[in-house]
Every structure is written in structure tokens, then in C-alpha cells.
């Protein structure tokens, strides 16, 4: 390990990772469905609260990994159990713990069959997701990475829509094929370095050709997760079929695994190759921004619309990462968080519509504003956030990304900025239909406005929309040191 642990000796990360698993074990023993929901909510909320000290005790002045834990796991293969967070992963861990209680809340009525198994899946997901962001050993990382796959495929395949098996299979095969390449890259790196420790592999200066191959293996694996154009087709399918909570997890956390992978592995381990491939990836990002936006414009299924908008938003994230400068990378990390908050909220909103109307068609789900004014307010705010409206979170992220991109290639940014106009077009189209509706929208007078549970689900995300939008410093502050080091490594 490069650095000693200077925070304290309490294994907070292990506790965070394994308490959802423990909660899942308890869940298995609960009979009553109601109790089940309350218990899962309590457990996830407690974990969310428990994760807050991570931020409070995080030392922003150092780029080193913090809250580090280290233990020998399989000594024969030099595989260790080692955990730690830095400025790049900290916010993602917090985002995960924040999103989980909301997932439970938005599934409260939505999931009527096999509720117990559903909750267990959610909790196992949480363990795996936190694990991915905290792992500092490649094998440990890979274990969590794969562990995430199964509950997610189950979430889609069991509680999903009519074509759930197809979507689940597609998701599984796509991600799996990426994972295989990732595993090959890990083994290749192990053969060179002789250890699986992630920090050990950073900044090694491998041979250029070797770097390129490793980079490509990483790239395909992570690009599928992001998903980058043209690896994105699993996303609309998975989103459309997944239950609300599944979509939220997918959009808010799982997509971040890809961009996190770029930041954690591609950039510091293969800096030379990063520079070689940078122009192409910037191009793909710009294509994703425009293509995702334009495709979103043509959608009538609300979930597909939001799914394609994700492709566009994540395009901004990859654009920022591969701008390889301070503004770009920090903007990209912020954009990852923002996308988690905003798109998660939009999927919850689509779920709310679906629970009431059993449709996601833009034509039939029109004109809800009159009977659901509170709901319309939430739709309005999150749509504005999604189109990067100043004062909301996405504006800061996209603005930083554009600043960063501008320093690298003006042409790219000029091509990417129309994406912002397109975003306004598709989001306003959705907002206008859903909130106000056309002249011939169906009668929605039987609808009831949001109940307390639904308001509670959306409010935390609303708070973050404005918090990040108006006062982003607390969020960017924690990244500075780590991003600085990352950029030095990649230079």
C-alpha cells in the first residue's frame, strides 16, 4: 500500500459494504410484507446516515486513499481484501447510500409480488455497488463488479415488463462480454506487476503497445457500462422493462461504474494509451451527446426518452473525463452525481405516472398538471435540471465539462453545445405534454396528487438539485486533490 491509514481504525467501509448483506439475511426471516418494507427502508436509511461521517471526516487536502482497510485474503495468489476511498469515489459511495432508501420508497406499492426477494435483491445490490467503489484490489473489485450483475438481471427478469426476459438477457450478455475483457486485462496486468493492488498499478509506465491493448480491453468493458455510443442499445431495452427501482439503480449508480472505471483504471494505469485514444473517445462522446438527444426527441415512451437522454448526459461525462484537465474531470464527476440525482428522479417520476395510469405513452400520460399540481412542480424542476438549467446541478457539471473540453478542442465543444439546445427541446416537449397536455388529452380527473411517501421520495433529490446548483463548492472541494494527482499520473 502506498499510504498509511490516517483517519482512524474503525472499519467504516467494511461496515458500509456488509451491513446491507446482513440486513438482507434478516429480511429473509421476515414474514409480513409490510414489516418487510419498513425494515428495508429502516436499514437502508440507517446505512445512508451511517455513511455521512465519510464526508465529515474526509481529508480534502490529500489525494491518498482514506479509510483504508487491508487484510490478506488469498495469500497464495497475493489477493488482498483492501478498501479505501478518495475524492473520486467518495461522492459516488454517498450517492449510492442516498439512492437506496429512495429505491425502497418508490417500490412500496409498485412491487406486489415476491416483495421479499425483491428487497433482498436490492440489498445485495447495495453491497456490491458500494464494494465496487471502495475496492482497492483488482480481484475484490471484480468480485463486486460481477456480483452486481446477478441481482440486477433478476430485478429486470422477474419484476420487469412484458419483454423482461429478453431485456434481462440482453443486459446480462452485454455486461458479461465486457467483464470478460476486463478480466483478461486484469490478468495481463497481474502478470506484469505481480500483484492485484490497484494503487500499485497506477503510474507504472508500461510499454506503449501493452498499454494500448489494456486500454482497449478496459474501454470496451467500461464503454458498455456507461454506455457510450455505439454500445448503448442494451440501455433502452433494460430501462423500459425494469421496474422503477431497477431503472433508478441502473441510471443512478450502474452507469457510473463505467465512467468510474475510466477514472480509476484507464487514466492512471494506461496514461500513454489514454492520450493516443483521446481524440476518438472525445468524438464518440460528442456523437453520444447529439445522437442520444436527437433519438430522445423521437421517443414517445417516457422511459425510452429518459434512457436516451442518459446516453446524452453520460456523453458529457466522458467528454469531461477525456478532456484530461481539472475543469473537465471535476465537471465529469459532478455530472455523474448530477445524472444520478436528476435521472434517478425522472425515472421515479415515470414510475409514479405508470402506477397511476399503467402507461408510459406521452400521448396518454398528458395533462396531469391540473389534477396533480405538486407532481407537476417536481416534473418541472427535474426537467429543468435535466436540460442543464442554470441554478440547478446539471448546469454546473455541463458548464465545467464544456470549459474543460474547450481547452482541448474548440471544435468538439462547438459540436457538443447544440446538445444543450436539443435537451431543451426534448425535455420541454415532455414537460409540456405531461404537465399541461394537448387539447385532446384523455380525462385525468380521477387522478390523485402525490402522497406523502412519494413526496418524501422526490424531496431529497430536489434538495440536491438546488444544493449542487447553487453551492457546488462542498462537492467539488473533496475532489480537488485526487483529481490533481490523477492528472499528474496521466500527464
Amino acid at each position: 500500500m502506498t499510504v498509511p491509514n490516517h483517519n482512524d481504525s474503525f472499519p467504516i467501509l467494511s461496515v458500509l459494504i456488509f451491513s446491507p448483506l446482513a440486513a438482507a439475511v434478516v429480511t429473509a426471516a421476515i414474514r409480513s410484507e409490510n414489516l418487510l418494507r419498513w425494515w428495508t427502508l429502516l436499514a437502508t436509511t440507517a446505512i445512508a446516515l451511517f455513511s455521512l461521517p465519510l464526508y465529515g471526516r474526509f481529508d480534502c487536502t490529500t489525494a491518498d486513499f482514506q479509510f483504508v482497510e487491508h487484510a490478506s485474503w488469498i495469500p497464495a495468489l497475493k489477493i488482498n481484501y483492501s478498501l479505501g476511498v478518495d475524492g473520486i469515489s467518495l461522492l459516488l459511495v454517498l450517492l449510492t447510500t442516498l439512492i437506496m432508501p429512495l429505491c425502497v420508497l418508490c417500490s412500496w406499492r409498485y412491487i406486489q409480488t415476491r416483495a421479499k426477494e425483491f428487497m433482498i435483491c436490492l440489498l445485495i445490490m447495495e453491497t456490491a455497488m458500494i464494494g465496487v467503489f471502495c475496492a482497492l484490489d483488482f480481484i475484490l473489485f471484480f468480485v463486486f463488479w460481477e456480483a452486481m450483475l446477478i441481482p440486477m438481471a433478476l430485478l429486470i427478469g422477474i419484476w420487469g415488463g412484458p419483454r423482461r426476459i429478453y431485456a434481462s438477457l440482453k443486459f446480462f450478455i452485454y455486461t458479461m462480454s465486457g467483464s470478460v475483457l476486463l478480466l483478461v486485462a486484469i490478468i495481463a496486468l497481474h502478470l506484469k506487476v505481480g500483484s492485484f493492488s490497484i494503487p500499485d498499478m497506477m503510474g507504472r509506465g508500461f510499454a506503449p503497445e501493452f498499454q494500448c491493448w489494456i486500454f482497449l480491453a478496459f474501454f470496451i468493458s467500461f464503454a458498455i457500462k456507461v454506455p457510450m455510443f455505439p454500445f448503448h442499445t442494451w440501455l433502452p431495452a433494460a430501462h423500459v422493462e425494469a421496474p422503477t427501482a431497477g431503472s433508478v439503480l441502473l441510471a443512478s449508480i450502474l452507469l457510473k461504474m463505467g465512467t468510474y472505471g475510466f477514472l480509476r483504471f484507464s487514466l492512471p494505469i494506461t496514461p500513454h494509451a489514454t492520450h493516443v485514444f483521446m481524440p476518438y473517445i472525445l468524438c464518440l462522446s460528442v456523437v453520444a451527446i447529439l445522437y442520444g438527444g436527437l433519438t430522445a426527441l423521437a421517443q414517445n415512451d417516457l422511459k425510452k426518452l429518459v434512457a436516451y437522454s442518459s446516453v446524452s448526459h453520460m456523453g458529457f461525462a466522458t467528454l469531461g473525463i477525456f478532456a484530461l484537465n481539472m475543469a473537465g474531470v471535476e465537471g465529469a464527476i459532478l455530472q455523474m452525481i448530477n445524472h444520478g440525482v436528476t435521472t434517478g428522479a425522472l425515472f421515479i417520476i415515470v414510475g409514479i405516472i405508470y402506477e397511476r395510469l399503467h402507461t408510459r405513452d406521452l400521448g396518454e400520460a398528458a395533462g396531469l398538471g391540473k389534477y396533480m399540481p405538486v407532481f407537476a412542480m417536481f416534473v418541472g424542476v427535474f426537467s429543468l435540471s435535466s436540460l442543464a438549467f442554470p441554478g440547478t446541478n446539471s448546469f454546473i457539471g455541463e458548464f465545467l465539462v464544456l470549459c474543460g473540453g474547450f481547452a482541448v478542442s474548440k471544435t468538439m465543444v462547438v459540436c457538443a453545445v447544440p446538445g444543450v439546445v436539443i435537451a431543451a427541446a426534448y425535455m420541454l416537449r415532455m414537460l409540456q405534454k405531461v404537465a399541461w397536455g394537448g387539447a385532446n388529452n384523455p380525462d385525468q380527473s380521477h387522478l390523485t396528487d402525490l402522497n406523502v411517501r412519494e413526496i418524501l421520495t422526490l424531496t431529497p433529490l430536489l434538495v440536491f438539485v438546488f444544493w449542487i446548483g447553487l453551492q457546488p463548492q462542498p462537492f467539488t472541494r473533496v475532489m480537488h486533490a485526487s483529481v490533481q494527482r490523477l492528472l499528474e499520473q496521466v500527464k
Binding site: 442499445t233 481539472m326 471535476e330 458548464f399 474547450f406 474548440k410 444543450v420 416537449r429 399541461w436 463548492q473
Partner: protein
Amino acid sequence: MDDVTGLLWRILAGPLCAAVVIVLICRRSPFYADFSPVMERSAGAVIAIAFLLGSTWFAWMALDAVKTGNVTTSPTYRFIDVGDLEVNVNWSLDRLSVMMAMIVCVVSLCIFVYSVGYMHGDPGINRFFAKLSFFVFSMLGIVFSGNLVMMFVFWELVGVSSYLLIGYWYQRPAAAEAGKKAFIVNRIGDFGFLLGILLVWNVTGSVDFTDIRNYLKAHPAEVSGGVLTIPALLIFCGAVGKSAQLPLHVWLPDAMEGPTPVSALIHAATMVAAGVYMLCRVSFLVFASPAAMDVIAWIGGLTALLSAVIACQQNDIKRILAYSTLSQLGYMVMAVGLSVPQVNGYMPAMFHLSTHAFFKSLLFLSAGSVIIAFHHAEQDIWKMGGLWKKMPITTACFTVGLLALTGFPGLSGFFSKETILGLARERNEDLFTLATVTAGFTSFYMFRALFVAFLGQPRSEAAGKVKESPWVVLGPLVALAILSVIGGYTWMGIPGWLVGDKGLSEAPAGTNVLLLAMLAFVMGLALAVVFYLCGPAEDPVKTKFPFLHRILWNKFGFDEFYLALVKYVQGGLAALCELVDRWVIAGAGVRGTAGVAQTLGKMLQLFQTGGLQTYAFLFAAGLVIILYYVVTQ
């Protein structure tokens, strides 16, 4: 040096607090059950006006503070600080911003009071006042922004609040569409603005107005030779969107779908003026590039002429005024493009902006008063007529506004317009001709509206039954009429305010200019008299020059062109992406891969017959082959 940051916060906080308070308490609630009807009907207006009065008072104090000496503001907090990019929340406080804030506050105040009468009985009146207050807040934000990013933030806030206000009657599809159109067209302008900000940051290393100005002063060599032309023009794009200049002017006439006070607010003092104000605020950037200034001047001049021509054949009273606004904004933008930095810089533009704020809101509110008299059912001037007998005060106010707009000597518009014409005369003869012709058209279409709608005999049954509006409507009209008359005189303070002690009298408006302008005015008036004073039942231009009428009626086809563009290009691209996604990537790419894998699997399946003989045969054959190789090697 006084630190007046607190004062600024109070000016800004007024309308924002009003919006929040109205949203929170103006509803039916068990806590104050007895007051609920009051709260639902009129509390919103009272709260909004009270808070705005507060802001106006603080703006007045700020005016005083700027007058008496040097004031300064301190940055409140760091907004973004990443790498080379540093954005603070800081404010501009100088004559320009305080002046503008004062205009915004005063005009908004008149409009707020007026809205009480205009929106009387509307079920959503509280929502209306909340949105109105929020709009004023965003506008004041633009005025006081101390850097480009802050300005962009408030810029977009103005965009979204105008979207909400234009679409206020969201039950009408046209209103909802107009709101969306305004927002998206503005966003196209903002696309340039955003790139402009990035470029300026790239060139000067800062987004702060003071820093940029200092940088330009300190590094004259690095910013010469047109380095700033593209950034300046990109920032101008933002102004083109907001101030509705060619070719992004299409949203403004449609925005008439909103309630009339909204039109007055958006078209007179605030939203559209924001573009011109922004150009003045970044004038140091614009002035650094003569090429950019030329483009700006010409776009302004062409917008002025084109929209004045279109206004000549509109029949909706609000649309006539909308095109007139476009035309006057064209004057202001042209003035920015023609300004002489060494003499009085952007002052002519700001001067016209301020007088225009008064007389244009006066005109809109008078038109609104007429619309009230028609019970919100009629806006076509050919269905009006003879209103002067029944509505003398409204007619008088409209006439005052009209005379100010057309530059009748002695009224405010006269001074500001002469200043711009004088400037044009000195700087660019072509633009001077263009502007003078525009002035002629202006007087033609305005007198046309007056003669057809207010004079003569009633043209419809409804027009015979109109009543003068109540005093809550007329009061603001009279106040604005007074301001429109006196707004141009130096003792009023506005011109003096803008240039300090120098005064605008030094502006080079020679007798020639004056004569030509008067000639244009009289020509327009004479034409209008010939065509319309006799009280024709139908527009004589329409019957005598049908071709001309059709072109103008279709507004030179901009809307149709854009619609086609959106439909075929953007819609086509979107459909193409969708097709590519469905058939090429998902179809050929993904299914193709799956298909190849399946076919391979099927081929291998052929060997898995399950028959023991086959396996034994293959085993033996393999063994023979291996043996053969071993032996021959």
C-alpha cells in the same frame, strides 16, 4: 468607499421573497380558514406590490449611493472554483446597473398595479403574481450580475420565467406553444452566448467584468486584430435571442399569447431590454472589435426596418405593438453597433432603452385597457373604432405613447431617437437612411392603429358598448404617460444619469437630421391619413395591393421557413437516429453478433449427435491423423 452589497441583496430579495411568500401562504388553508377567500383572491397582488415597492425604495437608495460617491460591492461567495476557472457571486454597481434597475422597478410597479385590474377575477391570480415577481427578480439579477456566468444564470432564469408567463393560460394550446417557442428560440441564442463566455474565458482567463476590462486594458496587443470579433459576436448571439433580433425574432410576436401585462413587462422594460443592456454591460468587449460592431449595427438596422414594415399590415393591436418593439430594439442594437467609445459609448442605446421602457409599456397597457373593455374577446383593430368617445383617457394615453414612439418633438422618444439618428448620420450614411425610412414606417403603422381602432365610428357591435376602464387600470397609464412625456429631458435625470455631467446635448444631432426625421414622420402620418382617417371598412392596402399585403401578412415567411426547417431537418435527424438505433446498431450490429454466435453454435451442434458410433469414429479418425503427423515429422 461604501460597501452597499447589503443594499443590492435587499433589492434582489424583494421580488424573490414575494414569489416565495405568495406560493407558500396564498392558498386555502385550515390555519386561516376565515381569511381563505381573501388569501385566494387578492393577497398575492398586495404582497407582490408591497415587496416591489420595497425594492424600488432600495433601488432609489442605491441610486443615491452611486450619485454621492464611490461605492463598492464585495463578492458574496465562491460559486465555482475548479482549476483555472473561478466564478464568484459578485455584483456590478454603477450608473448603468442602478439606472436600469430603477427603470425595471418603476415600470414593473406600474404594471403590477395595472395587473390587479387586468387580471381581476382570474382564478390563478396568485400564481400570476408569483410568476411576475419571480420574473422581476431574474431581471434584476441580470442587471446586477458582476460576471458573465452569473449573468448567464439569471439570463436563463428570465427565459424560464417568461416561458411560465407566456404560457400562463396553458389551457390555450397557442399559449403553451408560444411559451415553448420563446424558450427554445432563446436557447438557440444562448448556445452562442455560452460559447462566447467560454471563448472570452479562453482569451482573457476570466469571466469577471472588471477582470476582463482590466485585461483588455493591460494587453492591448494580444486582443487586437480581431481576436475578440468571434467572442463578441457569439455573446451578441445571446442578445439576438433575448432582444429578438433577426433572425431569431420569431418568438416575440407569438409571445403576445400571454396576458397583456406580461407583454408589457416582457416587451418594454425587461426581457427584451436585457439583450441591449447586456451589450452595454460588455461594451468594452464589443468596442474592441470594429468588425463585430459593424455586424451588430447592421443586424439592428435591418431588424428595425423589416419589423416596421411588417407592422404596417398587422391587425391584432398587440401584434402591431410587438413588431414595433422589435423595430425599436433594432434601433437600440444599431446604436450599440454605431457607438463611439470615446464620446459617450453605449449611452444613446441606453437612453432609447429607458424612454422606450416608458412609452412602450404605456402603449401596451393602453391596448390592454381596450382589451378589458372588449371583455378579453377582441384584439382585431378592424373590429374596434370610435373608442375615443367612450374611453377618452385610454385614448389620450395611447396617443401620448404613440407620439413619444414616433418621435414627436418635445416628448421623450424624440430626444432618444434623434440621438440615435444623429449618431447614425455621423457614422454610417446607409444606416442613417435606413433608420429614417424606418421612422417613416413607424409613424405610418402607429397612426394607422390610432385611426382605425380609436377614431371614426364603431366597427362592431361590441365596439359600441365599451366602457372606460377602472382607475386601478388608468392610474398606471397616467403615471407612465407623464414619464413618457418628460423622460427625455435632462432635468428628469435620465440622460444626465447615463453620461454623468457631460449630458447628451453634446450628441451630434444637427438640423439636417432633425429635418429629415420630421419629414419621415410627416410622410408616414400623411399616408396614414390618406388611407385610414376616412374610416374605411377594410384595409385599403389589402384591396389595392393584395400582393404586398400577402407578403407582409405572412411576415416574409420566417415562421414557415423555420417550421419547415424544424420539421424536416431536426425531425428528420431525430427519425434517422431512431432508425439507425433500431435497425443498424440494434438490428445488424447486435442481432448480427448474436446471429453469428448462434450459427456457429448450430454448426458445432452438428457434431454432437449423441451416437456412440459417431464419437468412436471421430475418435479413431483423430487418432489416425495425430499418428500420421507424429510419424511423418
